[in-house]
């Protein structure tokens, strides 16, 4: 499957990212000179204690927050450089990024299939194409039989699978997951992590997962650690 971006090996190139909250006495440097690269088909973990800046780094590369300094290129296209955003971030997110969070954040008044369909219809896919792909993804993630259920009728694990399906719907180049297994038990948590690995390898997407769960580190291709806003690559565990 294609991700819709260029065929460069590196899907994410983040260089010298810095994010500062507040100013003066209340200034907090959440991300400090962080550099990170992720290749297509690769799944990487972002580890670190609470307050290390993991989630902030994820929101920077996800174009949710704007860095104070640094450069971000996704799929070979520079999206942020020299204090300026170079693309329409909402449009870029829609076409090239997928998000999964600790909570599934499904739209409560839409069924599982509709939640997946919605992102494609937002991206101008036809109803028929969106329906077909939604069912393919739900099938792929093992929740097809729950397609017509509202999120409130799904278990936590099922909700998270639907959220993953939604993140994959537009064939994104980069999937960003912020503690996606924190609300799940260890068995279901591992299942979801394995799902991300499967997605990265089979869908040829780069996946970054922020996690505290050290038991599942064998799943990741590479691991980065953060502390006090700084990123360093850890020794590969696998």
């Amino acid at each position: 499957m294609s991700t819709g971006l260029g065929s460069g090996e590196t899907v994410l190139q983040a260089e010298h990212l810095t994010k500062v909250y507040g100013s003066g006495h209340t200034e907090v440097v959440a991300v400090r000179d962080a550099t990170l690269a992720v290749a297509r088909g690769e799944i990487v973990a972002l580890l670190g204690p609470s307050g290390a800046g993991k989630s902030t780094l994820l929101t920077l590369v996800g174009l949710i927050l704007q860095p104070n300094a640094g450069r971000i290129a996704i799929g070979g296209e520079t999206v942020f450089d020299n204090h300026r955003t170079r693309v329409n971030v909402r449009s870029f997110r829609r076409r090239h990024l997928g998000f999964v969070f600790q909570k599934a954040n499904l739209i409560p008044f839409l069924t599982a299939a509709e939640n997946v369909r919605l992102v494609m219809e937002i991206n101008d896919h036809t109803h028929r194409a969106a329906t077909r792909r939604a069912m393919e993804l739900l099938e792929y993630l093992g929740v097809a039989e729950r397609a017509d259920h509202l999120p409130s009728k799904l278990s936590g694990g099922e909700q998270q699978r639907v959220a993953v399906a939604r993140a994959l719907a537009n064939r994104p180049a980069l999937i960003l997951a912020d503690e996606p297994t924190a609300a799940l038990d260890s068995v279901r948590g591992r299942q979801v992590m394995e799902l991300f690995r499967k997605v990265a390898h089979e869908q040829n997407a780069g996946v970054i997962v922020v996690t505290h769960d050290h038991r599942a580190l064998d799943i990741f291709d590479r691991t980065f650690e953060m502390e006090d806003g700084r990123v360093r690559e850890a020794v590969t565990v696998r």
Binding site: I64, F99, F101, N105
Partner: protein, 403 residues
């Protein structure tokens, strides 16, 4: 995918209750317009139906409905003698209140000029027109009298021979139709004691003047019925209704009668206009202002409802933005819901109104033009009401998904 309808379906109970609330408010707005229309229709119904080209009334008065008009009964004959007049009919209109089964019974008594006018032009739903010169009446159904029922008025008893529908005076009192003499008898009824006192007063006055002393018969006459005293005027009527001959310009006949110094004359349209601009005008303005207030209140309440509904969805809206949804998708979600709420509220208002308005004591008339106008207003206030929610939704940051 229509997010607005899906959200409404998901919160069905709340949406239904909200719609009913908005619908009841809109029903009040609709009802206000209907009450105004009803006032106008009630005020002009008789003028529209009675088939007269001209109304001749007391000089400088505004006719039998807007204010009291007293003219001599022989005016009917004077008018008939004017060239171009086809018919002239005496007309009496007065309102009386009596007791019936312990409840007040208000009747606007209309006197018809027997035998030319037997009430055959009335919208009868049961029974027949007047069949004899005395002791029969045609009653509007709102009086809740039944066919054949006997009603005691003044010193006589009248039988209901016909029932009309929707005939009431500008003040809202139900109408009943009698032969002219009966209507006058009801209008000028006096108790026996009042008659005796009047005769005594007349006798005393006659004794005080020379004529009484020189002509003893004058004193004797003063003790008899007033109709036997030639010096007293005949019983008065309220108006004379004129129908002009075909091909004759009513304005020409009107100008002839208008030149008489003791009467005023109005065309049928003029009489209608007097009623609308006089009796109904203040009520119309009052209702119009109240209706305007209700529209504003409805708009504010709808805005608050939509704002609250938007607040409930802020997290979902942030998620939509995170997924890259265009502002149009978010704007559509809120505005479509607003219009859906307004449209369904309008349908609720119409349905409840259709059931409730006929139970109102006064006529409520809903016409298609008013319904279209209100539909336009509802769309307008729905869109305006959604702006507050839209402003809030557009200010939401995608990062709020993380909070």
């Amino acid at each position: 995918m229509n997010l607005a309808s899906r959200d409404s379906r998901h919160n069905f109970g709340r949406f239904v209750l909200t719609t009913i609330g908005v619908g009841l408010l809109l029903m009040l707005v609709m009802g206000m317009g209907g009450i105004y229309r009803g006032l106008v229709q009630e005020a002009t119904l008789l003028v529209d139906r009675i088939d007269a080209d001209l109304w001749v009334v007391q000089k400088d008065t505004r006719g039998p409905f807007a204010e009291i008009s007293r003219i001599p009964v022989n005016l009917e004959d004077r008018v008939r003698a004017v060239p171009g007049v086809l018919t002239s009919r005496a007309f009496v209109s007065t309102t009386v209140q009596r007791q019936r089964n312990g409840q007040p019974l208000r009747i606007t008594v209309q006197g018809l000029s027997w035998p030319e006018d037997r009430g055959q032009w009335l919208p009868l739903v049961a029974g027949r027109a007047l069949g004899q010169v005395h002791y029969e009446m045609i009653a509007d159904e709102s009086l809740k009298l039944s066919l054949g029922e006997k009603v005691a008025l003044a010193k006589d008893t009248y039988t209901v021979v016909g029932i009309t529908r929707g005939l009431s005076s500008p003040s809202g009192d139900s109408m009943a139709f009698f032969a002219l003499r009966d209507a006058q008898a009801i209008q000028f009824d006096q108790s026996g004691e009042a008659v005796r006192l009047e005769r005594s007063a007349r006798y005393a006055r006659a004794e005080l003047i020379d004529l009484g002393h020189t002509q003893p018969q004058v004193i004797e006459r003063s003790l008899g019925p007033s109709s036997a005293i030639p010096a007293l005027g005949p019983p008065v009527i309220s108006a004379v209704l004129v129908k002009v001959q075909p091909g004759v310009d009513p304005n020409r006949v009107q100008s002839v009668i208008a030149s008489w110094p003791d009467v005023s004359v109005y065309s049928s349209d003029g009489e209608r206009q007097l009623l609308v601009s006089g009796i109904v005008d203040r009520s119309r303005r009052q209702l119009g202002l109240f209706r305007m207030l209700l529209i504003i209140v409805s708009g504010i309440i709808m805005a608050l409802i939509l704002y609250t509904l938007t607040l409930d969805k802020l997290h979902d809206i942030a998620m939509l933005k995170l997924m890259g949804a265009r502002n149009g998708v978010i704007l559509g979600l809120i505005m479509q819901q607003a219009v859906l709420l307004g449209a369904l509220g309008y349908v609720v208002a119409y349905c409840i109104g259709q059931w409730l308005f006929p139970l109102f004591p006064r006529r409520v008339v809903i016409i298609p033009e008013d319904l279209w106008l209100l539909a336009g207003i509802v769309v307008g206030i729905s869109v305006l009401a959604s702006l507050l929610g839209i402003a809030k939704a557009l200010s939401v940051e995608p990062s709020e998904v993380l909070s």
